[in-house]
Symmetry: C2
Subunit: 144 residues, 2 copies
Amino acid sequence: MFMKASESKYSNCLYFTANALARKVERIAIDSWKSVNLSPSHAYLLMLVIEEPGLQPGILSEQLQLKPSTITRLIEKLEKKKLLIRTMDGRVTNIYPTPSGKNLLPKLKECLKQFYQNYVDVLGKEESVRLVRSMHQLIDKLEE
Amino acid sequence: MFMKASESKYSNCLYFTANALARKVERIAIDSWKSVNLSPSHAYLLMLVIEEPGLQPGILSEQLQLKPSTITRLIEKLEKKKLLIRTMDGRVTNIYPTPSGKNLLPKLKECLKQFYQNYVDVLGKEESVRLVRSMHQLIDKLEE
DNA sequence: ATTAAATATTTGTATATACAAATTAAAAAT
DNA sequence: ATTTTTAATTTGTATATACAAATATTTAAT
């Protein structure tokens, strides 16, 4: 009934493969962060801001490799949940975690750990590191 | 100004990496199929249907590793563009390319070739094959 | 034969993401 | 000092994707 990704007609195509992998990983990540009621990207953004309060959207955009408009949208949502606040000063915006945002850090770290566990268990630590690294090489090479 | 993906704070995380790679590849793919005015997933779906007329949404869903509802949406759009048609018979739907859909095949293949070229040029043929294969292994392992 | 369960597909709704244009402010050029 | 250019961020809009519920049809159970 269920077809493996590698049995698909276009399984040899990078477009197909990269997307299928991302969706699969996304689903695992969503599960891992469900306990804090955040999507993975919201969680990562929040962790970055907790670790470096005052971080600006532009920096977050670089760190998360997401477009500035996307960062704004993520921040809006986290602000609505009162996990962080924005202070606008001139053309620069600074993002700070609220106390309740900050309090979430241990749980967030726990989720992260759980997420890692998920795939390290399956792949092994070395293999995981190796694969992530070679994906990065690909990304950087495609950067041109 | 521009930060490499591998310089990000979470660059060692599979969530981050898989998504960053998928987005990068997606952008290249979008460019490759721009000349036929189709998004990559629409193009792949159309190619599948041209090569096997009558294909059902369920099969397409397996082949493309996308949810049935997503397949419906993709088909709707291609139907609106008069590149394929749906015939509904009982609870089963069959998808057929229209003549103008079928006529697009050579161009589609050309786009696919161009897309391949993009990354094979950068990575080399062997390295490309190897990487795609190891990504598949990961997908299949994560399947559990 | 009728009812219940399983299956294929679609619809309504929600999400993350991005592009292009708009806004605002700072810096540079005149 | 005023104008122009550059930069950071946000807003409006569009996209692909998915989940959950709805629909319709076939198969199985009684």
